[in-house]
Subunit: 502 residues, 2 copies
């Protein structure tokens, strides 16, 4: 009787959740009393993982003397075929008592949060336990002091970049607005103006494109800390994917639970954003909050509560913060999807005649406010400096230099398959549903297919006639174009068209 089994890769992607597949006649299953959904600890050499058990029946593809691992479990153990691993019951995670305490309404300390985060990063907590934690902190259930404690614990669990005491500018958008790709423009303008702005960005989770996805169309974004420093010391700025840097690593785990639950917890959101900013070594941060009926923040009251929370928490964390409330009633720019958004960014930088003016104006507003926030700046001069950097071509040159430093600039490609979606009636466009248009872009293949997405032809306020194109679906394959079109045709109200004269 041994407590080891031979490992093989199941080749099954269960995403973040490690799963182990064992045969129903497996002696360890039977002797340990493991049944489907049991949590099982697997030890291999100096590594271990806690996986969820799925039991494979007699007719299956697995023998009783081996165990198969999901992609995530296999890679966590650095397993090789034929390795024998040890199986046991995991010790219960100590932090579950803190999650329970929070569910019962107690206040948690920084040590409590650190314990929960440590267990999260070691996969000791189940997704159910993480969902309980997220729910217990939902709404307004985190006090300001708890949000500060959570932010500090999240930051401390990962790396913190050290920029030697210099002023480090940063911006962040709370999201929810398709096409709103201001970051590459703000970085180019602010770095051209001589400020330090080492921007780490995320990939899309539920949106058609994250900043990192869009930037990747034009330059490599997966850089380690050494490469990041080289780019920033040379050019003053960068736009890279933060995922490789282990900044506030628990955040990704929490987001994987928050997104499907669709909980807007202001405390968690503030801790998520500020822990990443503090870990990136930022000192002065501008937060962009788009407000609109189909944006993430839907009312002025919700925006006010969020702003108050951001300001309350940023001071103890040591961050200087400014907030920009922006119009979230419709997408910004014309492209939605990595390559289409990259084209918008380049059109603005190149001052092309048909560059989307809303994107240009918003980028100038944000860059101006960020320049005003920097110590030593003359208040109120930021916007003019931003306009000067953009219109003089300095921002364009800076952006190309940053792309070169990151590994080389590439011009965005165009999708081979395009479908026009026409207006169903005459009238004036009164709104565009951010959520539905984002969904159409995703069905077309964004962000997986860089060229895929939606190109807006008409905008809010435009007068259109029946049959005139409202937007164009871009796709890499005819199948994806057809799927997106079919969904679009069933959701003609994504553009609300008011009848009568403008």
């Amino acid at each position: 009787m041994t407590d080891t089994l031979a490992l093989l890769p199941a080749g099954i992607d269960t995403y973040r959740q490690p799963v182990v597949y064992m045969h129903e006649d497996c002696h360890i299953c039977r002797a340990e009393g493991f049944a489907a959904q049991t949590r099982v600890r697997i030890d291999l050499r100096d590594r271990w993982v806690i996986a969820t058990l799925n039991v494979v029946g007699r007719a299956g593809w697995l023998t009783a003397d081996s165990a198969a691992l999901s992609v995530s479990a296999w890679s966590a153990l650095l397993a090789r075929p034929g390795d024998r691993a040890r199986f046991s019951h995991p010790e219960p995670a100590l932090s579950t008592s803190r999650i329970r305490a929070k569910a019962y309404g107690e206040r948690l300390s920084e040590a409590d949060f650190a314990s929960i985060i440590g267990d999260t990063l070691e996969h000791r907590l189940t997704d159910l336990e993480l969902a309980a934690f997220i729910t217990a902190c939902a709404g307004e259930r985190l006090a300001d002091a708890e949000t500060v404690a959570l932010t500090r614990a999240m930051q401390a669990a990962g790396e913190t970049l050290d920029w030697g005491g210099r002023t480090v500018l940063d911006k962040h958008c709370v999201g929810g607005l398709p096409g709103n790709r201001t970051t590459p423009l703000v970085v180019a303008i602010v770095a051209a103006a001589g400020e330090l702005i080492p921007k780490t960005s995320s990939r899309a989770i539920t949106s058609p494109a994250g900043t990192a996805d869009t930037m990747e169309v034009m330059a490599p974004v997966t850089l380690d800390e050494r490469a990041l420093r080289r780019v920033v010391e040379a050019e003053g700025g960068c736009v890279i994917w933060g995922g490789a840097l282990n900044l506030s690593p628990a955040d990704d785990h929490f987001i994987q639970i928050e997104r499907p639950l669709n909980f807007d917890s202001t405390g968690q959101m503030v801790a998520s954003v500020l822990s990443k900013k503090a870990a990136a070594g930022s000192t002065h941060v501008l937060i962009d909050i788009p407000v609109g009926a189909t944006a993430k923040v839907r009312s002025a009251e919700a925006a006010d509560a969020l702003v108050a929370r951001f300001l309350q928490v940023s001071a103890p964390i040591g961050l200087r913060l400014a907030v920009h409330l922006s119009d979230g009633s419709a997408p910004v720019g014309r492209g939605i999807g990595p390559a289409l958004e990259a084209s918008d960014v380049l059109a603005v930088l190149r001052r092309e005649a048909d560059a989307p003016n809303d994107l240009r104006e918003k980028a100038l507003d944000l860059a101006g406010k960020l320049l005003d926030l920097a110590p030593g700046s003359v208040p109120g001069t930021g916007h003019a400096r931003a306009v000067e950097m953009l219109d003089s071509g300095s921002a364009e040159a800076k952006f190309l230099a940053i792309c070169s430093a990151q590994g080389g600039f590439t011009e965005p490609a165009r999708a081979p398959h395009r479908v026009e979606i026409p207006a169903q009636s005459d009238g004036t466009i009164s709104s565009i549903d951010n959520r539905v248009i984002a969904r159409i872009a995703k069905l077309a293949g964004a962000p997986r297919q860089k060229v895929a997405g939606v190109q807006l032809v008409a905008q809010v306020g435009d007068r259109v006639c029946k049959g005139q194109p409202l937007y164009e679906i871009h796709a890499a394959s005819p199948g994806e174009a057809a799927w997106a079109r079919s969904y679009a045709e069933r959701h003609a109200d994504v553009f609300l068209i008011a009848e009568g004269p403008r």
Copy 2:
């Protein structure tokens, strides 16, 4: 381009959670934007299920033009190999907004709970969403009025048995005490006394035996409503498995989430118990609450809060309720595990000289209180009636008659493999850890192996010498006996032995 795929059984047991396995090159995966962990709706003929997607890589056992289903998904669809099913994005569950409202601290109505329960029963809610619901109701977050509303909604979601206006007695133990198998005794005594007690019981979820598991050693317990009525009309009582009857069916779903989270929500527990009792048509219910450091209810304060909640909620539901607080400091009886507990029950019924007296006394207490609760009884006479029924042999005869009516009586078998665990020191036994001793019984194979479990030899208060047996591990296989022994040897403190004279 079609939205159907051929189905095959994956032969993977993911327990309650339906899972679909699709190839990474599958055209539906790609076109619909399905990625690992996406929720996918699968329609087959007039049935449908919402499953979680796991993606199988190119080297896997699945082709790109088919989809494999977990055991639960396969059986929910009544699929046959070669069936082609349709795949789509599920509509979002409407009740998620109610769960979110509760997480944010709003009060829910009966209609809100009914909506959550309906979506739960249709598998429209993810386990994460259920965990959020459980957490949002945790601690004292359900008001009494909400608990009443939840109880009513849970009952209304399933069947309700109708006993034609007669008095129907029932008992329930909130659990946590190994070996505490009073139910068959109480039913035999109360039915012998001429009262109606149609008892529906549950199987073990995390314990070494549920009442249904123990009863099944002696008689069939899986009866439909017609068979149940036949037994009860003939004998006045029964002890059957409630799982086949669709009484408060959402409860099982909630328990699957509550147990791993280990949340003691009094509101949820009360709604769970009372909705089942109301659905069973009970009119007068006795609740047994064992209180002890290693029981489910750990303090007198916790017990008082639970009792208050039970009493507040039972009246509006139309149940007459009595509560019995009992000693939860150690197991009751000597056997832990289905067959061993059945032997204890039979020893008491047969008035054997070595029958466990604590089990006998507790059963008489409960039966007496239940008889006192019945309308028309003379208060305070219940205990004497119970003693008379037991000592006269009426209860034994009634029990055998009930077993016959349920399908025939069987004598419990004995385990082929037994291991004695000796005391490590001299002294007096001061306590037995309910949780650890239950764990040892489960490692020995209970409840899966009916004969497996633990037989206590010594009890709290006994004086023992080093080397004297404390308990015996019973197992169906040498491997299971060895596993349980190894764990037992690492947890010698399951029996606390105080030094010195008694």
